[in-house]
């Protein structure tokens, strides 16, 4: 795995921000990422107009009906988007969303309330509403708040807020130019650049007090090719928890060329065969298979409730011994990485499956208490409007020994899949699908014709035992994935080397 280098000075500068700052919007955001601002100058009251005493008061109100635990999650998020279409900048948008969510836990039940009205009256109502999960009188009091620091995993050289809008528009224009230059049959191009900066502070009745600043960018381009009455689309996107320096290594032209190439190449896509075939997964994006086939099934909430097909199976062989599956929230600048999860626990590298043996689950607070294990830093939420649940971060399969040539040439007739639009899983039995938007036929050991989009369907535990070869060409996909669960979306990462699966059902049309 390639980790981007960060200088010591840079690290110190940024690590401070991600651990001690509270909410602070009186300071221009860009100054936060320089040394001009002394961290001790930053206070709750600068933005949320609440101080530590008020916070303790709210935590105690949460505990006032006899609950075991209370927590405040404060969020201030800045979103900026620019959207390009028909060779003009269609619109620019900017928004702010801020609010506070209060969670109160009694055993493994909890109450949750949130408010974007941050007056004391309103927050007090939230705390009392959440407190209703218990019935009785206060048993515990909140502890003194003690700030905690974490290593910063998303050092940023140039934060998007520092860059003037016109230079960002130029990125979109460059992408459009490159896409159209690729082939005259590209007749529609749209592109967007989405930028988010999220500040969170989490405090709880056990004295935890954590702050993080999470940047996230995503650049996307979509093209339509039209030739001889046939039409096809192509798309690419990339990004991560990184600054504008992303575009040095990943110029917009690169994504644009790939999107156009896809649209043009697939104009003549053939009907995909239907039935069971060997499938070779290309490195990178194919990691979506792991995310669906095993990832969700190893989220501990499903296992605590014994809803998952992996419940009570730690120590069992659940995959081919070629498979070691990791969930890793600590990869530098990755989309799925987090310094701490949304319950304030440090993110981790968690081994889920090692050489085919199930090692552990991904936890939030409630499940880690239930299983009596340490938190794994997987308690995540979409925003203050939601409560945390176990979620993946970056989930990947470790590299093996085979070369990709070796793997592809071992297939006489099968499918090679490169890019996907998404997937879904049935937790209780592990049946899952993933939809390939870029796949090819393999004939006599060679990649040949591009195929129309197909859905592949399999059963997670079954497919993982059918992993016959694992490549030495591990690749983490560029930052594009968003995972949805219980109505909450969070950014995640996936990765995989080339993998051969001996047999999987391919949803083509050609019988």
């Amino acid at each position: 795995m390639k980790e981007r280098e960060i200088s010591r000075r840079r690290f110190l500068e940024l690590a401070g921000i991600s651990s001690t700052g509270i909410f602070f919007l009186k300071f221009p955001v860009e100054r936060l990422f320089s040394q001009e601002v002394k961290m001790q100058d930053i206070r709750f009251e600068d933005h949320f107009e609440i101080d530590k005493d008020t916070i303790r008061k709210l935590l105690d109100l949460g505990l006032s009906k006899g609950a075991d635990f209370s927590e405040l999650y404060m969020e201030y998020t800045i979103n900026e988007n620019i959207f390009w279409e028909d060779q003009i900048l269609k619109d620019a948008s900017k928004g702010i969303s801020r609010g506070i969510g209060i969670r109160v836990i009694k055993e493994d039940s909890f109450g949750y309330a949130f408010s974007d009205d941050i007056s004391f009256e309103s927050l007090k109502n939230c705390a009392l509403t959440a407190a209703e999960i218990a019935s009785g009188s206060a048993k515990v009091k909140s502890a003194d708040l003690s700030p905690k620091r974490f290593k910063n995993l998303y050092p940023v050289k140039e934060l998007f807020t520092k860059k003037p809008v016109p230079s960002k528009i130029d990125l979109l224009k460059r992408a459009d130019d490159r896409a159209r230059k690729y082939d005259p049959c590209i007749n529609k191009v749209s592109a967007s650049f989405m930028q988010t900066l999220k500040f969170i502070t989490i405090v709880n009745s056990e004295g935890l007090y954590v702050t993080d600043a999470q940047p996230l960018i995503r650049f996307g381009i979509s093209t339509v090719a039209e030739k001889n009455g046939k039409k096809q689309r192509g798309s690419r996107s990339g990004g991560g928890r990184i600054g504008m320096e992303y575009f040095i290594e990943n110029p917009p032209e690169k994504l644009a060329k790939e999107a156009s190439e896809q649209a043009v190449k697939f104009l003549d896509a053939k009907d995909s065969p239907a039935g069971k075939f060997p499938v070779v997964l290309a490195p990178g994006w194919s990691g979506i298979l792991l995310h669906e086939a095993v990832g969700h099934g190893l989220e501990a909430d499903f296992n605590r409730k014994k809803e998952s097909n992996y419940s009570d199976r730690i120590g069992d062989k659940v995959a081919s011994e070629l498979c070691t599956v990791i969930d890793d929230g600590t990869i530098m600048n990755q989309r799925g990485s987090i310094n701490c999860d949304d319950e304030g626990n440090k993110s981790n590298k968690t081994v889920l499956i090692e050489n085919g043996i199930l090692k552990g689950y991904m936890h939030d607070r409630i499940s880690s208490k239930y299983f009596k294990v340490n938190p794994t830093g997987n308690g995540r939420r979409e925003s203050y409007k939601q409560f945390p649940i176990p979620r993946m971060t970056n989930t990947y399969l470790l590299a093996g020994k085979s070369s990709s040539e070796e793997i592809i040439s071992s297939v006489d007739y099968g499918i090679y899949t490169r890019n996907f639009s998404g997937g879904q899983v049935n937790i209780s039995n592990g049946d899952f699908v993933f939809s390939a938007v870029e796949s090819y036929l393999i004939e006599k050991g060679k990649i040949t014709a591009p195929l129309k989009g197909v859905t592949l369907i399999g059963n997670g535990p079954d497919v993982l035992t059918r992993v016959k070869m694992v490549g030495n060409d591990f690749l983490l996909s560029d930052g594009v994935w968003t995972c949805g669960k219980n109505g909450q979306s969070v950014p995640v990462g996936v990765g995989l080397p080339t993998v051969k699966i001996s047999e999987i059902t391919v949803g083509g049309t050609k019988v």
Binding site: K306, N426, G507
Partner: protein
Amino acid sequence: MDLKKLEQITKYVVDLAKKKGADEADSIIRESKEFNVIVRLGKIESLKEAVSKSLGLRVIKDKRTAIVYTSDLEEKSLKKLVSDGIELVKYSDRDEFSTLPDKSELGIAKGDLKNFDSNVEKISSEKKISMAKEAEEASFAFDKRITNSGGSSFSTAISGMALSNSQGFSGSFSSTGSSLSVSMIADDLESEVKGKKQRGWWYTSNPFFDKLEKPQDVGKKAAKRTIMFLGARKVKTRQAPVLFDQFIASNLLSFLSSLVSGESIYRKMSIFVDKLGKKVGSEFLNVVDDGLMSRGFNSRPFDGEGVVSRKNVIFENGVLKTYLLNTYSAKKLGLKTTGNASRSIAGRPGVGISNFYLINGNISEKDLIGEVKDGLYLMETMGAGVNPVTGDFSVGALGMWIENGKILYPVSEITIASNINGMLNNILGLGDNLEFRGAYASPSLLIDKITVSGK
């Protein structure tokens, strides 16, 4: 919820934007009050309650557009919001189609749409919790093969929306919704062949609380649908007719609505580009979008731009009669808005449906099944494998296999694939069971010549 006050805030923001130099502006506020309880194994797992409010402003200056939004509605912040919008707008390019609707199109439909139930606010938490419990209990009691619960959830929402624009339009409305859903897990412990566990669900949802199905019925239906899938197997790959049940047929309609959206058309992201007035499907294809339907899930007196609501015929006997249009997509295509602007706080107006449904047929579902010699009764799909540009369609499927007009056994881990163009022309028949369970609705739909891929 004080709708008049919400209107006043949007008016204030629009006036301020005009004063600061905007040529045109409109502003929207959404407020919602939500409640949700999840019960599992008879115990409350989570209880959530909240009120939230946020405001969005669109500024148009010199035919350039910017969008700004915030969840902080204090006056100071609103002033900052307006100046941000005025600052941001200069970066957009001139776009001659960027404008508010014509004044003549603005308006508020008269009459009671019956989309607000004043009882929703009055139902006690205890009542909601006990309904969730009751549904789950009924599921467990239905069959001993129901071995676990994925939870029983009761939700209510009361939402308000206000919109003002610089053409002088100002309006607001509120709506309500209640829903109860149950998800269960079945396992056949006594079966000789240890099959897969299965998960199934059922739900009831309505703007009106007293129109919800009874909790016991929801629980029983969820249990029934779950145990139906026990012992599911794969079938051999073949071409076969597929009977989409009401629920899956309405999902298909949701995809169809995205293909007739004016946005998809001008972006050339649809198989229906240049197909207006042409026959694109069989005689059975009659689709309506009705913003004024009484007790509709998504009925509203005006759309997301203040254009008065109406009933639009989208397909008639297989002919595409109109696209779904907002002001921008209509102008791009040289057409008139159909009152289908959808509006989020954070973006420019998009295109969206109101109540979008396929007109009822006249054959009972039982008779439709009776017509199938060898085919699939489709109850669930997985994934989103559809290409709007080519119409190619491939998704995971779960359902029952039909032979000689009889439902025989459950099937899973299979896919169905075809092309939407072909599917719309291969409709063999429609059920007589149109039922509104959401903003999309359809009777059962029998479609021929779909590739079922399995073993």
